[in-house]
């Protein structure tokens, strides 16, 4: 019994030792393997260094700074030393009268842009695809894509040239027909129409690109077969073209819904003014005014953080739905 016991004990001891040595060896091997791999790819890592530095400085340091949403930020104390404040700034915002107005304006402007802009882009894409005059089609493409590349400052200039009460073209027409000039950009009744209209003017052409690509991918024999069967042009669009681009429509819609809290910051920032805050002020413009103009750093960051969290949830949901729908997501 005793021998067996000792023997057993020794055996356990040896196997432990073996195990120990074994692990040690394989760790060393792993380490040197890791070292060799890192060395093998050293040039690639060196090439990534500036990019990594960029991400740390300009993408992750801001994420770290976002903690001031939960603090009372004092510039003299810095981000880390400033005292914690819990959810104070969030509750201030949720209880303020701005909350509903800002969320409302943001969502309404986003949705109207989507609901009114998208059908325009789809119709334009179908017209470009269907026209018998290919040169006209190409010309329309070139011209209609162009405004996409104009900044909102230029757009503001163009809008003044069109809508200014004193010298704008539209108001010239109104005056010529005996009406009173309208200050479109400063009137709460008209402001949203200007925002959505100028967005459609700027981006309808550019929005056709994906639909056109989807239309080009439809098997042309489908149209021929339908024509032989006596389908009218409209029927062919309804039963072949639209189903053919349906998946693109769904994906684009989901993506846009995922970004619904981005109602077009630079556009609104450029076009709005005090008289139209009630209908035009959105989350982003409010954050800018509170943070940069009023120095309410923590409050502005909290609202930005809130927007970021909701936005993240929406984008991830949209991406999941897209995956289910189209078989693959955008970020995978």
């Amino acid at each position: 019994m005793r021998r067996i016991f000792t023997g057993g004990g020794t055996m356990i001891g040896i196997s432990k030792l073996k195990n120990f040595i074994g692990v040690q060896v394989s760790r060393n091997q792993q380490l040197s393997y890791l070292g060799r791999t890192l060395y093998k790819y050293r040039w690639l890592y060196i090439m990534m260094l500036p990019g990594i530095a960029y991400f740390i400085l300009f993408r992750y340091l801001p994420l770290w700074n976002a903690q001031i949403a939960f603090k009372d930020f004092k510039p003299l104390l810095g981000v880390w030393e400033s005292p914690w404040a819990g959810f104070k700034h969030f509750t201030t915002f949720f209880n303020s009268f701005y909350f509903t107005q800002l969320i409302g304006n943001t969502v309404i402007i986003s949705l109207l842009k989507l609901v009114l802009g998208m059908p325009m882009a789809i119709i334009l894409a179908i017209c470009i695809y269907e026209t018998a005059f290919k040169r006209l089609a190409r010309f329309v493409q070139t011209i209609s894509y162009l405004p996409h590349f104009l900044s909102w400052v230029i757009m503001f200039g163009i809008l003044l040239v069109m809508l200014s009460p004193s010298e704008g073209l539209v108001n010239e027409a109104i005056k010529a027909s005996g009406g009173q000039p309208i200050a479109f950009l400063y009137s709460p009744e008209w402001f949203r129409a200007v925002v959505i209209g100028s967005d459609i003017w700027k981006d309808t052409g550019w929005g056709t690109i994906l639909y056109l690509a989807a239309l080009m991918a439809i098997d042309p024999t489908l149209f021929e077969a339908a024509a032989v069967d006596g389908a009218s042009r409209m029927q062919r669009i309804w039963h072949i073209s639209l189903p053919g681009i349906l998946s693109t429509i769904v994906v684009v819609t989901l993506l846009r819904l995922g970004n619904i809290l981005d109602a077009g910051f630079t556009q609104i920032f450029m076009l709005y003014s005090l008289p139209v805050y009630s209908v035009g002020d959105i989350l982003d413009t409010w954050v800018y005014r509170q943070g940069i103009l009023e120095f309410q750093f923590s409050l502005a960051t909290a609202v930005g953080f809130f927007k970021g969290v909701i936005g993240l949830a929406l984008v991830l949901t949209a991406n999941r739905l897209t995956k289910q729908f189209a078989g693959s997501g955008i970020y995978s």
Binding site: L38, W43, L44, I46, M47, M48, P50, G51, I52, Y54, F55, L57, F58, R59, Y60, L61, P62, L63, A66, L124, C127, E130, T131, A132, V140, T142, S144, Y145, F149, L150, S151, V153, I154, F156, G157, I158, V161, M162, E167, L169, E172, K175, A176, W201, G205, I209, S232, R233, T266, M270, V287, G291, A300, T301, F305, G308, L312, L316, S328, I330
Partner: protein, 293 residues
């Protein structure tokens, strides 16, 4: 009978489609045309008549352009825009290309980690103020760097470039490696010469972004000597008194409205001139992203 109805259907349909295209074309061109007409209207004309859309070319006056182009503030702002556009695009490419190339190597250890690292801030952005604090902390305010560096790598641009690199034939890179080339040499001598389309696409996107940059300039450039054209344009458009920004000659034969329109037209001119020549690269880039979907 059947062919007759079909052809009527066709004709009516073509009429509908082409009318829509022409109406749309007119709707897009009218505002741009009006900007131009307004910019060449002489003072004595608008005092007497409504401008509308047509001005006899014999009446055109380029006085507003002459004044703008010779004005130091305008020249300064244009120079700044050029510096920011060219310098910014160079920085973008220097950061994006090597990063995208490294990530395009499927064997790179830690590849997934770095891709995730790039995607997280894309999905959850910290917002305006936290980024502002970083730029402030790094002492970049009132330097060109403040408008160039924060957007150094566009995640989307980086990803389409990465997938382009992934699509290049592996054998070519492998052959260069066997010849003793390191990865920097492979990128420079093998990959980049094959990547002209994607370099142009991404480079042009960055360049347009910089030319149109104005929000970061408002945030970070208080020194009027550094401000780009977009800021000057905004000031000219918003100013109740245009003299605050550009000395406006009271005896000028160009009205203030022409002056404003001319500054709008000059700012969009580079885009109008360059864009049609490079259109294909823009659409290609968008489709590359679209295919990924």
């Amino acid at each position: 009978m059947r062919t007759l109805t079909k052809s009527w259907d066709d004709i009516f349909f073509q009429f509908l489609v082409n009318s829509f295209l022409v109406v749309l074309l007119v709707a897009i061109l009218i505002p741009m045309w009006r900007v131009f007409v307004q910019s060449v209207t002489p003072l004595h004309y608008i005092d007497t008549k409504t401008l509308g859309l047509w001005l006899d070319p014999r009446m055109w006056s380029f006085e507003a352009y002459k004044q703008l182009l010779s004005h130091p503030a305008f020249v300064r702002a244009t120079t700044n825009s050029l510096i920011i556009t060219l310098g910014g695009t160079a920085v973008n490419m220097a950061l994006t290309v090597p990063f995208a190339y490294a990530l395009s190597n499927p064997d790179l250890p830690g590849r997934k980690f770095f891709i995730t690292m790039a995607l997280i801030p894309f999905l959850f952005s910290a917002g305006l103020i936290p980024t502002y604090l970083v730029v402030q902390k790094l002492d970049l305010i009132d330097t060109y760097w403040a408008v160039i560096l924060p957007g150094g790598i566009g995640i989307y641009n980086m990803l389409i470039m990465k997938s382009f690199f992934e699509g290049l034939p592996e054998e070519l890179k492998e052959a260069a490696r066997l010849d003793g080339a390191n990865e920097v040499q492979v990128l420079w001598h093998v990959v980049l010469p094959l990547s002209k389309p994607i370099l142009l696409t991404v480079g042009l996107w960055y360049a347009v972004g910089h030319w149109n940059e104005f929000f970061n300039a408002i945030l970070y450039l208080n020194d009027s000597d550094l401000q780009p054209l977009t800021i000057l344009l905004r000031n000219i458009l918003l100013a109740a008194n245009i003299n605050e920004y550009v000395e406006y000659d009271a005896f000028s034969s160009a009205p203030v409205s022409a002056f404003r329109a001319a500054s709008v037209f000059l700012t969009m001119l580079p885009i109008i001139i360059i864009y049609p020549r490079v259109q294909q690269y823009f659409t290609k880039g968008t489709l590359l992203g679209g295919v990924k979907q």
